[in-house]
């Protein structure tokens, strides 16, 4: 229970309460009965499951502790009292957005035929045309559900508007950036696996060096505190995982934890946590971190609870660093890069992986806060350097010149691709519909193109989409090494 002062960006107080202190909480039997009734009356809606950091899963059953507005604007911590509070939040913190320019995580506001605000939730997914496909919301005193936008109690009405809302002040918000463009809101644009706020460095530096099996390194995270409340002795949890585009929570392997304290408006570094990658850690591993302010989302001590645990893109407490700098030399066999595609969702959905190649400069890599010490002995090719292999471009774009050849070597016959070589800037490999937790492995054989010179570089992104939504990816920076 919290008795904080929640403020909109205009400084207006958001009235909220804790009805469970007045009425008591539903009994377990009441919760189960209301849940069963709701699921029976609204076939197709999915109950929301919260995965605790100890990997115990909990279905979010009916509760009096928070309502739809509480879920949307101060997740799971309180009952926001009136639709006028919601209107005040939308007025001060919101910008109305319209399909197809929606983002997963945008607020959806329901009004009835009288124009009254009745309900809010968050966009859970979008269809390929940018229309909201699913919404996550808490139904009054009932449970939390993922549902089609109009698959809701009729009293909510059918007038839906969409809003991109900045967080309220006074609820606490420790966060880490998913990428340099992250705006603190769910699902920022760009690759969400390139956090500048998570890095490994064996000598205390602030740039990221790929961890090396058997060699000690330090793991760090930068926590930002834009709120007015202190972050005092909270925890950052560090994990590794196989290079993967959708990592189920049970495949996050804990490295260790570090304490962090950050004053209002400040930043603080958690770490180093010493890590010696063991024999089971792949040579190019994912690095993950969770800012854990408490795993009990109802507790008064939990400032800024996790809303979507283990969900890098949605939750701004969770970040990932999936980038490796790999030097490939011409006189050696092609380097094999492995990537596991996995459906992390709870529903069967089509899965595809896009391979996208870009030329990249050292300046861009410095922007990604990568340690470029391994490149110091290599020349930095200028614009007059001999080209690599030219590849076709999409209509209207200049032809691209890429210094590497990339071939798909996987023996898994289920992958459907337009060919086995990356012959244009982009190539898509699809698996069709995949059950939750299932997927397949991709193996890419990478070799310098004819004419490529030492020091030339290429960025290769593997972007995994499940049901049309990006669920993760991995970025390789390939460098032509000396023969």
């Amino acid at each position: 229970m919290s008795h904080r002062t929640l403020l909109t960006a205009a400084g207006v107080v958001v009235s909220h309460s804790h009805p469970e202190t007045t009425w008591g909480e539903f009994s377990v039997a009441q919760k189960m009965s209301l849940q069963a009734q709701t699921l029976a009356d609204y076939p197709g809606i999915q109950p929301v499951t919260y995965v605790h950091l100890n990997h115990v899963e909990e279905e979010l059953l009916p509760t009096r502790r928070y309502n739809c507005w509480g879920f949307t604007f101060n997740p799971r911590q309180c009952w926001i009292n009136t639709p006028q509070d919601v209107q005040n939040i939308l007025d001060a913190n919101g910008t109305q957005v319209f399909p197809p320019n929606l983002r997963v995580g945008d607020v959806v506001c329901y009004r009835n035929s009288y124009g009254e605000i009745t309900h809010t939730g968050r966009v859970w997914s979008l269809d390929p045309s940018g229309q909201p496909a699913l919404v996550q919301s808490k139904w009054g005193q009932l449970g939390e559900y993922i549902h089609a936008p109009l698959q809701v109690p009729s009293i909510y009405g059918t007038n839906l508007t969409y809003w991109r809302c900045t967080p309220l002040t006074g609820k606490g918000d420790g966060w880490l950036k998913d990428n340099t463009a992250d705006d603190r809101l769910p699902c920022p644009p760009g690759a969400t696996w390139l956090s500048p706020d998570l890095w490994c460095n064996p000598s205390g530096g602030t740039t990221h060096q790929d961890p090396v099996r058997g060699q000690p390194t330090g793991v760090y995270a930068r926590v930002r505190n834009p709120d007015t409340l202190d972050i005092t002795h909270k925890t950052v949890r560090f994990y590794w995982a196989d290079p993967n585009g959708g990592i189920p929570h049970y495949e996050w392997h804990e490295i260790g934890t570090a304490d962090v304290t950050v004053g209002p408006g400040g930043e603080g570094v958690a770490g180093p946590v010493t890590w010696v990658p063991g024999p089971t850690v792949p040579s190019h591993a994912c690095l993950l971190a969770v800012f854990d302010s408490g795993d009990d989302y109802h507790a008064a001590t939990t400032l800024d609870p996790l809303v979507w645990p283990f969900d890098v893109a949605r939750d701004n407490n969770v970040v990932q660093k999936n980038i490796s700098v790999v030097t490939v030399t011409r006189n050696l066999p092609p380097l094999r890069l492995r990537f596991t595609a996995r459906n992390p969702l709870r529903v069967e959905a089509p899965l595809e992986v896009t391979l996208r190649a870009y030329p990249v400069s050292r300046a861009e890599l410095e922007g990604l806060r990568l340690d470029l010490g391994s490149l110091k002995d290599l020349p930095e090719p200028g614009p007059s350097s001999p080209p690599g292999r030219p590849v076709s471009a999409r209509p209207g774009l200049q032809p691209q010149v890429l210094p590497f050849e990339v071939a798909l070597e996987t023996k898994d016959q289920r992958w459907r691709t337009a060919g086995t070589k990356l012959t244009s800037k982009e190539m898509v490999a699809g698996l069709g519909k995949v059950a939750p937790g299932n997927g397949g492995k991709l193996v890419l054989a990478v070799a310098p193109a004819r004419g490529a010179v030492p020091g030339q570089m290429m960025r290769l992104d593997l972007i995994q989409k499940v049901g049309g939504t990006v669920t993760g990816g991995f970025t390789y920076v390939l460098v032509v090494g000396k023969s």
Binding site: S15, S17, S33, Q37, P62, I117, T118, L142, P153, I155
Partner: protein, 143 residues
């Protein structure tokens, strides 16, 4: 008759009301619940409704309490409705509740023939709820 009264405590019947986050949504949910419309002009059921409501106790489910109040309003038995409202609003915890306190307060304003607050989301301040509660208590006590 028993079926009708039991509807007031049946979560299956009241499911949409449980999905309400605000008093105006709760009211529209109850108005849209077909099973409750059977109370219309059934003043003969008012005493039974009050009896069942009393049996629910002070920490009763707010949705069930609201359903009983709404049913009383439908019966047209204003005396029983005022008495029941007075009882609910006499309890500070009920009065201060964002859902039931406002639902009952606005219903009391209507029953007392007062002018309801204006605006898109009519809402009574804590002082206004208390004033309405006192007025109701006085009126009920005078009888």
């Amino acid at each position: 008759m028993e079926d009708l009264l039991e509807a007031l405590e049946d979560p299956q019947v009241l499911l949409e009301a449980y999905a309400a986050s605000a008093p105006h949504v709760l009211r529209r949910a109850l108005e849209g619940t077909k099973a409750l419309q059977g109370f219309r002009q059934r003043a003969d059921l008012a005493r039974d409704i009050v009896g069942r409501m009393t049996a629910l106790g002070p920490r009763a489910d707010p949705v069930k309490l609201a359903a009983h109040l709404y049913a009383l309003e439908l019966t047209g038995a204003t005396r029983e409705a005022r008495a029941a409202l007075a009882k609910v609003l006499a309890e500070p915890r009920h009065r201060d509740d964002a859902l039931l306190g406002q639902f009952a307060g606005l219903m009391a304003v209507r029953l007392l023939g007062r002018i309801a607050p204006q605006g898109p989301y009519p809402r009574l301040s804590p002082e206004e709820v208390e004033k309405v509660a006192e007025e109701l208590a006085r009126e009920v006590g005078e009888r």
